[in-house]
Amino acid sequence: MSKGLRTLMFSVAAMFACQVQADFYVVVQSDNPQAFITKKEAVNLFMGRSRAFSNGDFALIFDLPRDDPKRAAFYLSLTGWAPAKVNSYWSRLMFSGQSMPPQPLPDELAMINIVERNPSALGWLSQPPTNPSLRTILVIKE
């Protein structure tokens, strides 16, 4: 009941949002104990500062390819940075060899498949996930 209600609420919210603008959905496997994360935590994870969820579990972070226009919009929404800046950011970190950017996946379908199978995985989608084995933990407004 409560689960259904919550899903409905999410769906309504998503639909509503979808109608107005393209939102991004940070997702994990539905078995992941992390119910939601803050935007700051999302930035820390996607920008390489943090590699673990707030409960201390290791997080395996996935991204879309560099040339994907949705990725540019995602990072603009997340950090306020242009994709070139994001790339430059990662270039500097990769230069020191200590940090690596999130693993890019070919498309959103591949993202759904990876997150569905891996309980530590964290990814993002431009559409609310319909698959019940995925759970949205943060919606980022564009």
């Binding site: 920008m47 950090t79 950011y89 500097r92 230069f95 020191s96 200590q98 940090s99």
Partner: protein, 535 residues
């Protein structure tokens, strides 16, 4: 050639060089101080810029806690010469340091912003500037500036010295060279100096030429005047030296300051250390005359006959001297120069020995009896007059003997006039021996009459009687007329005493006459003293 430091253009150049070096040194120090601060602020700005360029990377490194990237950043900073050390740290755990990070002076601290959260500080970047390097750069700049200034000063000094040499020293040297050829004593050498340019030197040369022209004409006038003066002076000198009259000048101390040859001929005894007065016998008269002519304004000329002092065996010399006070401006100047008092006196003198002797002889002949050489009657009267004055003045007495010879006529008649003359001469000699003292005299009154007189302090009748008797006795001695003939005469004496009997010559002589006749009437051969009661 004088030493090199004596030259103006070198001096000017040296002065400029020294001044420039001094200024350069001071300027260099100021420049150095200025350069240090400006280099520091420049370096600070540069460092801040550098810091700004790596700020985003530093922000990422801090954000991701990437120590390697931080290390990379601080090492990259220290590569820069301006930066001695750098430190990147945050409050969490990251703290990377490289290079020298001691000392806080000039430390530049940059706060690093969070890359995603605006206005949130994520850590700080400390940059330690390389002060030594900055200072060495500042020093280098200052040294360069100073060297440039010195070079500039040297060039300016060189140019100034060259110009001074060209425009001032060289013309002045030429001018001096031609100026040195001029002998101030020789107007022939005074030629116009040449300097063609109309600058200050040209004006000075013009001035010198004008001055020299004036000087030349003045000197030539002076020379002409001097030649004329010399001619005149030699004429005057000729007159002075060839004059037959002796001429000399006497100064205030009566010393002879100048004399001509004729003077020295007349007075050969004069020398430099004898006074004029000492040359003559009338010392008192002469010195009072000199005082008079010096002090009495109205007296300009005085003349006097003077007897010269002479050595033994020399003839007495007489000179007629004309004294004049010399009152010229020059003598006044000379007085003030020498400090002497009173004006100079000019003396012109003639040798009048011959005339003086003739006068002396004439006077003697006028006053004396030619036969007996006793005073004649006229001189005798004058002498009595004289003695009367002395007597009345000094409150003394004068005794007068009127002597008449007895038995003289028979000698004259029997033995002739020559015998009579001889008797008179002998009588004169005998009377002269009796009355030969001071304030005594004996005169031939005429014929066989004689008058003798003498001054006494107090009248003593006994003494008078004794003298009258001894006079009579001396007359009674026989007188030799020839080898084997002699005669004897006698005398009658009338004695009067002044002022007892009379106080003037006339009365005195009259009384004496009266007394003498009384003696004759009373038998001759004795004396009587006047008695007023006879009348």
């Amino acid at each position: 050639m004088k030493s090199i430091s004596g030259k103006i253009y070198i001096k000017v150049a040296l002065a400029i060089a020294i001044g420039a070096i001094g200024t350069s040194l001071v300027t260099s120090v100021l420049l150095y101080i200025n350069a240090v601060s400006s280099e520091q602020s420049k370096a600070q700005a540069l460092i801040e810029q550098i810091g700004a360029t790596i700020r985003s990377t530093a922000s990422i490194a801090l954000y991701v806690q990437d120590k390697e990237l931080g290390q990379e950043i601080v090492q990259g900073l220290v590569i820069n010469d301006l930066i001695a050390g750098a430190k990147l740290s945050d409050s969490v755990s990251l703290d990377v340091t490289f290079g020298v990070t001691s000392g806080n002076k000039g430390l530049i601290k940059t706060e690093i912003q969070h890359p995603f959260i605006p206005n949130q500080t994520i850590g700080e970047l400390l940059i330690y500037p390389n002060r030594n390097y900055i200072q060495s750069i500042a020093k280098q700049n200052a040294v360069n500036d100073a060297l440039l200034l010195l070079l500039y000063s040297a060039i300016v000094a060189l140019f100034v010295s060259v110009f001074v040499h060209k425009l001032l020293t060289q013309p002045l040297q030429k001018l001096t060279a031609s100026f040195l050829k001029i002998d101030p004593r020789n107007t022939e050498t005074m030629r116009t100096l040449i300097h063609n340019e109309n600058d200050e030197i040209g004006q000075m040369v013009q001035g010198i030429n004008d001055l020299m022209g004036e000087l030349k004409s003045t000197l030539e006038n002076e020379t002409d005047l001097r030649i004329q003066t010399q001619a005149l002076e030699s004429k005057f000198r000729l007159i002075f030296e060839q004059a037959s009259a002796g001429i000399c000048l006497i100064d205030a101390d009566n010393m002879i300051s100048a004399s001509n040859p004729a003077f020295n001929n007349i007075l050969p005894n004069s020398s430099d250390d004898t006074t004029f007065i000492q040359l003559f016998e009338h010392v008192d008269q002469l010195s009072s005359l000199l005082i008079r002519i010096r002090n009495e304004e109205s007296v300009n000329h005085l003349s006097i006959d003077l007897k010269c002092k002479s050595l033994l065996g020399e003839n007495k010399k007489w000179v007629h001297c004309l004294f004049s006070r010399v009152t010229t401006q020059r003598s006044e100047v000379r007085q003030s120069d020498t400090g002497a008092q009173g004006p100079l006196i000019e003396v012109i003198m003639y040798d009048v020995t011959e005339r003086a002797e003739k006068e002396h002889k004439t006077r003697f002949e006028a006053d004396h009896d030619a036969l007996t050489h006793l005073k004649n009657r006229r001189a005798g009267e004058a002498e009595i007059e004289n003695l009367l004055q002395t007597v009345s003045f000094l409150d003394l007495s004068l005794v007068v003997f009127m002597i008449d010879l007895d038995n003289f006529k028979p000698v004259n008649d029997n033995h002739g006039h020559d015998a009579g003359d001889r008797v008179l001469i002998e009588v004169g000699k005998r009377l002269q021996t009796v009355f030969d003292g001071k304030n005594e005299f004996c005169s031939r009154w005429g014929g066989d009459e004689f008058v003798a007189a003498y001054v006494v302090n107090e009248v003593n009748i006994d003494e008078i009687r004794a003298l009258a008797q001894s006079t009579l006795d001396s007359l009674r001695y026989p007188i030799d007329l020839s080898d084997d003939v002699s005669c004897t005469i006698g005398g009658s004496i009338g004695v009067v005493i002044a002022p007892t009997h009379a106080d003037n010559t006339k009365d005195l002589i009259a009384c004496a006459d009266k007394t003498m006749y009384r003696v004759k009437q009373n038998g001759r051969g004795h004396f009587e003293i006047f008695d007023p009661d006879w009348i």
